[in-house]
Symmetry: D2
Subunit: 345 residues, 4 copies
């Protein structure tokens, strides 16, 4: 069985294990106040060209989302997002647990537009019953989206403009940020993230780390006392340096990006193999997730040999499945999959 179910099936990039080994007996202060975290933060500020940013390391995505969101909203405010947004669908109500409503907008291929946000916000503020409604207090986007699609730079700039005009912090969930930045056709550079978002994170868990998400507040004022929030939300790792060490490795010589690039190229090969056979896709995308639409019988046969996630029923006879590549996907696995596709469709 060759596995493509997710991008967190394996441990971590070997360089990270090696760094953990080398540093194992160092003695450092806990809770992220150690030289590794400091250096990793510096490296991130350099790579993403945001010298004044505040960088905090958290263990996982749900935790990062819940902590950032509850730190930015007033009690009566909610977070605007796509109806397909991870915080709305797959975090067991962590945002609501923190007291806030997720204000979900209809999504197209996992994306929402500046115009949608503007209309929603204007509608709220022009409603004479607005005090009876949750006030939009920030905007959450995923880049790439949960469907592996990407916002263009212009789309993000447009969203940023609405956010600034309405004083809504813009938060970009980058659980798979590298896969987005390295995708063919992506017109964003790392430095665009802090320029566009008030806060974003650089996902590690799905991109070669054992775990970890680096939260970057471009506007460091928004991060005031953020460490209290981290602790209160159960996200302050005692041996915080484990996060610093991992990001030191990932930011070193572009490893974060080269691992992602390779995974994206392998995903391109899967897409090409299906396309060659005329197989349609749930969405047109270029990152490390591939969503072909297959006959249900074909899926049953496929999954004898290849592990995929059954994503979504499309019609009575077809469903979309998801293939994920990652830093750990082997060429051999891709070759085997290509051969299978060529023979079976």
């Amino acid at each position: 069985m060759i596995h493509f179910e997710s991008d967190y099936l394996e441990g971590c990039a070997p360089q990270i294990l090696e760094a953990l080994r080398q540093t194992n007996l160092e003695q450092t202060l806990g809770y992220g106040e150690d030289p590794h975290c400091e250096r990793a933060a510096d490296m991130i500020r350099y790579v993403f060209d945001c010298p004044d940013a505040a960088v905090h390391f958290l263990v996982g995505g749900t935790q990062a989302n819940a902590t950032v969101i509850s730190s930015l909203l007033k009690p009566y405010q909610g977070v605007v997002c796509a109806e397909t947004g991870h915080i709305h669908v797959h975090e067991t109500g962590a945002v609501e647990h923190g007291g806030h409503k997720v204000l979900a907008l209809p999504a197209r291929d996992g994306k929402i537009s500046a115009e949608q946000i503007l209309n929603f916000v204007q509608a709220h503020h022009s409603d004479f019953s607005r005090e009876h409604m949750v006030q939009p207090g920030m905007v959450y986007l995923s880049f790439p989206t949960e469907l592996g699609t990407l916002y263009t730079k212009q789309e993000l700039l447009d969203i940023r403009e609405v956010c600034r005009n309405w004083e809504l912090p813009l938060f970009i969930d980058g659980a798979r940020l590298g896969y987005g930045l390295e995708a063919s056709g992506c017109d964003l550079l790392p430095k665009d993230l802090p320029a566009i978002a008030d806060v974003f994170y650089i996902g590690g868990t799905k991109q070669g780390a054992l775990f970890g998400e680096a939260v970057v507040f471009s506007n460091s004022e928004l991060a005031e006392d953020f460490r209290y929030n981290i602790k209160q939300n159960g996200g302050m790792l005692a041996k915080g340096r484990l996060l610093g060490i991992q990001y030191e490795v990932l930011m070193n010589e572009g490893l974060y990006f080269s691992l992602a690039r390779r995974a994206d190229r392998l995903a391109d090969r899967i897409r090409a193999a299906f396309k060659h056979k005329g197989i349609p896709f749930l969405v047109d995308n270029t990152t490390n997730q591939v969503f072909p639409i297959l006959e249900i019988g074909a899926i049953d046969r496929l999954t004898v040999e290849f592990g995929v996630e059954r994503w979504q029923i499309v019609d009575e006879t077809h469903a979309a499945v998801r293939f994920c590549t990652s830093w750990a996907t082997t060429d051999a696995a891709i070759v085997a999959l290509e051969a299978y596709i060529n023979c079976n469709y």
Copy 2:
């Protein structure tokens, strides 16, 4: 500088790093539903002699406390604990963030008694204004306590009796559980924990793991749907097997206990050295934390060579400091400290 500030200054027991290396390219399902977590849970059930217990792995202590407590309480209930309890003092209000009051009782050497709990609960239920007060809904203890002291088995049995009579789940925070069980004079065995507590955890972070706390519900009914709670509280690690692998190693051939035993014995040597010089202690204890009371000038001199935590002012000229030993403390460090104490007090 030789460091005794805490028991989480270093990485992890080398056996754990090695296990991570060996398993690194295994492909497993995420979120704790993998064979390592399953096997680690089995080993815990065996070692703690609780074949029907439910075992869940969380990343850290604050997270474990907040998740367990909010899963057990009704909205209007609070958790009874010692005023020195970690949840009351050092978790940035994580319990309150989840909506619950911490009902702190006066503590003696970090401990509360069955009688105190009984009086408190009876007072609540006999108060004709009780509906205007937070109802005690469970009891939280630390073993060892935050001051490194231990409850005797009888004390715990007495508390259990009160808890059962009043239908209050008893939760034991075992962030340093091994150091307690291996302390000289401790009359508890591992199997006593599930027999006494409804839920407890086996701390890994401070006992040789990179991170991790194994939450054990002796009464597995209390753990129904607990995984939803973990996810909602941001505690479900994507690569959950990292926790399973670590506990497999720690439970193997008693490593968890032998690491703790050694640390306790090293702490005994620190205590003996101070005692020999007639130095008093903040508390009389036998676990891996040592709290001598020193003159403030002596502390300033000491801390040039040895890292300790300045714990508490005792009077105008004296303060207590904390020395921690751990799995990583070297004999050489203890020898150097013994020599220093012999020469300087």
Copy 3:
């Protein structure tokens, strides 16, 4: 200007003011533990034929909804409702403030169906990622709905069946319950409410009381310790008897129902007048709210003389407005409105 904006424009039924005057100097215990509350609860149990029900009086609807819902859900559960449900739209996220997600389903004329609920609940429990999603924990309906429409008895029985099969408490928001029960075509009797719902409330604020909602737990076990919840949610009125006194009056000789019946009949006359002129309606309903669809210019002219709520844009040239009748609506007001409609459409 003649006002039809809402059903809470005036004070209260004169009988209530008179009862307040007569009881003003009585001395009673506070917080709802007085003979008036007791007697009002008995009257409700009699009128709604639920001798074992637990009855609690709250001040307002948002408070009643938030308190009941948070008392019934576990932390990781949400409340299923129509997307038009008051708790989803017009309570400023009070449910989320209590930590719970509102699980909104697409609505038809303000209603959801047993089938929708069943599909949603089944989809949750058959999803292998369900622990990453908010678990449906109860169902909330409004009777009448926010659009003044009614569920038939059969529709409610079908919903009840799904709820019982899946152990989901069914909660009916009866802010306008009387207007529903007295509407032409309604096939429910008061006694059907406790037979169908696990908990419902008998709205007072919009039905002739100064304020107040009587929450009825048909299944009194669900109400255990509910008074703690009331207090914690800020809903325990010090002079609780004010609520008891009002419900004594409303339940006396069917006043609650006769006030509602008259208002419904007046609304029928408004509907008839518009229908006579061929004016369409946003929904086909029979309660005290009337939603004709008018040309926007016509609305501007109408609102010079009659106060209505501008409800919803329908197309570029038309919008729906809302007329409310209430216990306080005068015949003269209806006559004037009928004349206006006859002349102007």
Copy 4:
């Protein structure tokens, strides 16, 4: 039986009932946006000499406290108060339900001092583990306290200074504000409240209204979007004018103060009667609550004829009871009590 159990045993000052009767058929907008609320707010701003204050009307004290506090704190902050403070003891954890810890300081006769607050805040900010602790975010005082005692103007000015230096909003719970301001020996004037507190409330429920608390934000910036908070906390009364009408009456010709003054003088007579007999008091106070310490047998005899609240055990043979006077206490009741005291002690 003559009742002195509380100051909310009866309905309301007759002038209020009369005003409700006169306005009953007026038609006004709901939710506090009506001319009565507007006028009442103006009257309050005039009487308390705070022309720029924001005034909001809530139904009850617990609701007012929870809503104000959660509107002012960041998630990781708590509210500093006396251990006897109502929010800590008698609100079923409403503050914690909103996510915040109550940081209780030892109290003396129900009061805390500027020095205590300063020490606590300084200790927090100088603690190197402060991010692991709840940050003090505001200060809550009761005037009068829950024990009927009063802060002097100087004590409050000192507290204000600490609060300003540390940017902690100061919130004064004035559930019995009038009884405080009218007490013999009180050196505060109404205008001192807005000058000292950032927000305070003028209690109605215990001072002659049916219900209601007028929350005054001296610093109206702190009240931004406060109505959203009110709604979210279930405190926005549909017929908001009921609150406006009551405060119009109470603020008219000083009724609020004259009712309180009379109650205080009646309480003085109770105190004098006990003092004449050499009976000691739990606290030395001058407001409408009287706390004599009596033999337990004497209490049993007393309570055959007079209703009091059994307040607190003092020693094995003595307990303190509480007598409350109010706007509704009759001279005859006081005369009867004086006679009883004279004869029985």
